[in-house]
């Protein structure tokens, strides 16, 4: 059998194991080990296991993962999400659909200190949903805007998805983070526009909330100091080249820790909760990374990525058509699989091909992240929707998915805009101090 054939069988076998509900990282390691053994020999394949586990576990550049997750955890316990919501609520709440707009704004704000979409959705779900219920917002709009807004967590830096993309493709994490800012702002504005159009067409979806005086609004700004401080310290430090990603993550985690103390919200339980939750997520991410690395060795020796690139090049299609097909395939995959899994599975195959076509690696990282965001809210497997339905127990899943559709369209518009104007992602990184 040719290496390519073994490679294709390996990928098929991997999907079977995934469907049998085997842990993603574990089945990648298993298939990688078996495939590499078959193609080279089982001696080196066996050595690969221990060595890869050790090497991945001691990779300095990966320390950003636990530290940024920890920062998000502390930010969560210090109730920064609640405060940012409170502020945006006072400024936008009186508009038609204003509470949903405020939720989107607060999601974007919380995303600036948290790298996780699930955490953003869960935090905002608890804060914003009861408020929208009180003002008789339509269930589908209320739940849809949180599920969609929550996805901003992985686009606006810090972002775990961009870190993992950076590691898999050897791109600078700082550059990826900075590239995520403008698309993040654009998508937030698109979400707010969507809410504006929806409530303009059907005002009963989102009645106006209470109006606050200018004094109250300005006064509410004081609740945002901690969030702004953290964001400018961490992302500003990265932008000006003052911090390396690891340093920025360390400073961010420590800063969030100190803020939690200052706000008198640090309890023994909160501290232990933040640490154990971070340890759990870190172990999960690393299990996948180790598996992905071992699987990557197998893919490389199977020559599939090379062959695929050559084959696509020989087709002679316009590269934008290929990109559109690729995005379509990603969106379909995203309906059935979790974003992180799709990324670690496909990047080793797809990335060389995309580079071959002459696309920018940083820009593609942002596109991938946007598609991952869509995967979080598309049925049947939309993790953010599951989170929201856990918070809003009386709202049927179908209603949430229906509410999400307009926001999904907004995401598609965002991707198209990025295809037409790659500068949206690439403008800020160019101005970075190297």
């Amino acid at each position: 059998m040719s290496p390519v054939t073994i490679g294709i069988i390996g990928i098929f076998f991997l999907f079977v194991l995934l469907a049998l509900r085997m842990q993603i990282g574990f089945c990648m390691a298993l298939v990688g080990f078996l495939g590499f053994g078959l193609l080279i020999s089982f001696g080196p394949s066996f050595s690969l296991l221990g060595m890869e586990a050790y090497k991945t576990g001691t990779l300095y550049s990966l320390t950003v993962i636990p530290l940024f997750i920890l920062m998000g955890q502390f930010a969560n316990y210090s109730k920064m999400g609640l405060e940012i919501y409170d502020t945006v609520y006072r400024w936008l709440g009186f508009l038609p659909g204003g509470l949903s707009m405020a939720t989107t704004g607060a999601c974007a704000g919380f995303a600036a200190i948290s790298g996780s979409s699930l955490a953003t959705a869960a935090t905002m779900g608890m804060v914003a949903l009861p408020e929208m219920k009180r003002f008789k917002y339509d269930d589908s709009l209320a739940t849809g805007c949180i599920a969609a807004g929550g996805t901003l967590g992985i686009l606006i830096p810090p972002s775990t998805v961009l870190i993992i993309y950076g590691i898999l493709t050897e791109q600078a994490i700082a550059t990826l983070f900075i590239a995520g800012i403008l698309p993040g702002v654009l998508l937030s504005l698109l979400f707010i526009t969507t809410i504006y159009i929806l409530t303009k067409m059907k005002p009963s979806l989102g009645p106006p909330g209470p109006r606050f005086s200018m004094k109250e609004r300005v006064y509410s700004l004081k609740g945002t100091w901690s969030l702004l401080l953290l964001f400018f310290l961490v992302i500003g430090g990265l932008y000006t080249g003052w911090f390396t990603p690891t340093e920025a993550a360390g400073v961010g985690a420590c800063g969030a820790f100190v803020i939690t103390i200052v706000k008198r919200r640090l309890t023994w339980d909160n501290l232990r909760g933040s640490l154990t939750e971070t340890a759990k997520t870190t172990a999960m991410v690393f299990a996948i990374l180790i598996g992905a690395n071992i699987f990557g060795y197998f893919l490389t020796v199977s020559q599939i990525p090379d062959q695929l690139s050559t084959w696509i090049a020989e087709l002679g299609l316009n590269r934008y058509i290929i990109m559109a097909i690729l995005i379509f395939v990603y969106i379909v995959l995203g309906c059935f699989m979790e974003g992180l899994a799709i990324m670690v599975l496909t990047i080793p195959i797809v990335f060389p091909m995309v580079m071959e076509m002459g696309f920018d690696p940083i820009w593609f990282g942002i596109i991938i992240t946007l598609v991952m965001e869509m995967s979080l809210i598309t049925p049947p497997v939309g993790v953010n929707v599951f989170i929201i339905s856990g918070v809003a127990k009386d709202v049927p899943m179908y209603t949430i998915f229906r509410g999400i559709f307009p926001f999904w369209v907004a995401m598609l518009v965002c991707i198209i805009l990025l295809l037409l104007f790659p500068q949206i992602a690439l403008f800020l990184p160019v101005t970075m101090v190297q």
Binding site: L18, R21, S47, T63, E247, G250, A253, L275, T282, A283
Partner: protein, 168 residues
């Protein structure tokens, strides 16, 4: 009955150990944060740094990851794709789980073994870290220990699936 007993006896000591080493992982994480901030502070303010920060951070990361690995599995924290399996009966689900978790048990047995062999090589070659000259091999043992514990947790998952099959 025998399976149930072995399930209980393995779980009885595997789960507490996972929990304890996970606490160690959490503690190491906290110190990792402190070490990073201390190093940044010294470097930016006094233009000096703590010798060996990079390698100590790397070793801390290693301990964090491999000491948290088993407890994460106890808490079902390792991501799975739940797409088709939910549609099958409890019994068929348990049967598939038994097979996959047994395979994972062997896989992490291999990981453990491979890490032990690797640490032997590191010991023979007297590999040390760059700045502090710490021997490398004990840290490879951490990988082996973490993988061994995870494989035992997976064994309990296998037994759990067997118990489910028998009960249904």
């Amino acid at each position: 009955m025998k399976i149930q007993q072995s399930h209980h006896s393995v779980e009885l000591w595997v789960n507490p150990i996972s929990k304890i080493v996970n606490r160690i992982a959490s503690g190491v994480l906290f110190f990792m944060m402190l070490l990073t901030i201390a190093d940044v502070f010294l470097r930016k303010v006094f233009s000096s740094s703590i010798l060996g920060t990079v390698e100590v951070t790397e070793f801390m990361l290693l301990i964090l990851v491999f000491f948290a690995l088993a407890q994460t599995e106890v808490l079902n924290g390792h991501v799975k794709v739940d797409l088709v399996m939910g549609r099958f009966s409890e019994r068929s689900q348990a049967m598939v789980d038994a097979i996959t978790q047994l395979a994972c048990f062997f896989l992490f047995g291999l990981f453990t073994w491979s890490a032990l062999v690797y640490s032997g090589k590191m010991r023979e070659a007297v590999e040390v870290s760059q700045d502090l000259w710490l021997p490398i091999f004990p840290f490879v043992y951490v990988v082996a220990a973490g993988c061994a514990l995870l494989s035992l947790v997976l064994l309990t998952k296998f037994f759990m699936a067997l118990v489910k099959i028998i009960k249904s």
